[in-house]
């Protein structure tokens, strides 16, 4: 394993409902790399991502961040991770700005002004609006805006582009590039094709391991 690896998995295995989804999974990600996890539905993509965030316990093996097991790092690991899963993770009764402020309180705030963050995801006009009044695509953009509101090296994204139109997908693909350029790391599953020609994109096919 490369000594500059940021995120590593060692001998990782996962079972669900008494069925083994995958085992002996090993990979290492260095700064500036993106890992695309692929495979058919039900093969464990979401479970793998949740194991990487620490939300789910692995049934075997471990996940390492800068060489240390993430369950021992706990808060020090979590503050480096931004996770966008199937749910948007936003409160419908709060405004966009209030939601982003909460995200900042939970992690490390980025230095950008929140209005600028909203501007970058095309939600500036909705800063004070209740999230409940937004469309599905707008809610998803707000969820992804979390990535910009906090300083996190590792982005773990499960189907981030659900409900997004082509223009928005291109917008976020651009944001991914910038993150990787700044030596960030991304783990993502997606049915959408992402065009990142200049970056090191690795693929992990869980379906092929069955």
């Amino acid at each position: 394993m490369s000594t500059t690896a940021l995120l590593e998995s060692r001998d990782l295995s996962c079972t669900r409902n008494d069925r083994l989804l995958f085992d002996h999974l090993e990979f290492a990600l260095s700064p500036g790399e993106m890992l695309v996890v692929e495979g058919p539905n039900g093969c464990g993509k979401t479970s793998l991502l949740r194991i990487l965030t620490g939300l789910r316990l692995a049934d075997g093996g471990e996940v390492l961040w800068r060489g240390e097991a993430i369950d021992r790092l706990a808060g020090d690991y979590y503050e480096q991770v931004a996770y966008v899963g199937h749910h948007d993770g936003v409160k419908l009764e709060l405004s966009c700005l209030e939601n982003l402020r909460l995200a900042r309180a939970m992690g490390i705030p980025s230095s950008e002004d929140l209005d600028d963050v909203l501007e970058r995801v095309n939600l500036y006009a909705y800063g004070e609006s209740e999230v409940g009044s937004l469309s599905a695509g707008q809610k998803r953009r707000l969820a992804l805006a979390r990535l910009l509101a906090t300083e996190s090296l590792l982005w773990i994204l499960d189907e981030p582009f659900t409900s997004l139109d082509k223009a928005s997908i291109e917008l976020f693909a651009g944001l991914f590039e910038r993150h990787l350029l700044a030596d960030g790391v991304i783990v993502v599953t997606s049915h959408h094709e992402m065009d990142l020609p200049t970056r090191a994109v690795r693929h992990l096919d869980l379906g092929a391991r069955q």
């Binding site: 709060l94 309180a105 992690g107 300083e151």
Partner: protein, 228 residues
């Protein structure tokens, strides 16, 4: 790169957020309070409004009703956050989850337990609770309702991931509520009869400290289980 918030700042941030959410969901929190009053009203209707009988059973009725009303409101601590994915974000925060849980439970108590303090004296009058016992009643509500929120939170955390979680929640939580019920009701009862109240009150205080120190961690562990 700025640093993360201090633990205290994060605690108050989450507390304020939950109070704000409760404010914007006022109706949801009014129901358990009305339920509390309604249940108490049922007893004179069922048993007859003879003053001496009511006075005798009043402490028990008020506290049983408080327990049931607390059960009704418990789900609101974590269900909404679980459903929209906010709970995951809280579990992934840089801060210890136990402290964040304390913030959420604190907000829950402020919104559901504290109002009982205002309503309880009215009901005590309606049921003819002895004047000596009324301040003790308020004291037991002040000491006991936080314990109900803290212990109840463990039950909610265990069942929030289930489809029909609410049903099994009562089975899990009510046995744990029994000690609070016993000591709170008997404190008020003792006061009404002029007996010593210090023993049961000290027990309630002990329960409060015990649940404050232990339940956030059990709740945090249960939340991680439910979210996995």
């Amino acid at each position: 790169m700025s640093a993360r918030l201090s633990l205290l700042q994060a605690f108050f941030f989450l507390l304020r957020r939950d109070l704000l959410l409760a404010l914007r969901n006022r109706a949801e929190y009014a129901v358990p309070l009305l339920f509390f009053v309604l249940v108490i009203t049922l007893f004179p209707l069922a048993l007859g409004a003879e003053p001496r009988l009511l006075e005798r059973i009043a402490p028990g009725i008020i506290w049983v009703a408080a327990l049931l009303a607390s059960m009704l409101s418990l789900e609101s601590i974590f269900r909404s956050d679980f459903d929209d994915g906010s709970l995951e974000q809280i579990l992934l925060s840089a801060h210890p989850v136990g402290v964040l849980v304390l913030a959420k439970v604190g907000a829950h108590w402020l919104v559901t337990g504290l109002p009982l303090l205002i309503v309880a004296p009215l009901l005590a009058e309606m049921l003819g609770v002895d004047a000596r016992a009324q301040p003790i009643l308020l004291l037991t509500v002040l000491l006991g309702t936080p314990v109900l929120s803290l212990v109840g939170a463990i039950g909610v955390a265990l069942t929030v991931g289930l489809r029909k979680g609410g049903i099994i929640l009562s089975l899990l939580v009510l046995p744990l509520y029994v000690p609070v019920l016993i000591f709170a009701a008997s404190a008020v009862d003792n006061a009404a009869q002029g007996f010593d109240v210090s023993a049961p009150l000290y027990m309630l205080l002990a329960f409060l400290f015990l649940s404050l120190s232990l339940s956030p961690w059990a709740t945090a562990a249960a939340l991680r289980m439910s979210a996995s």
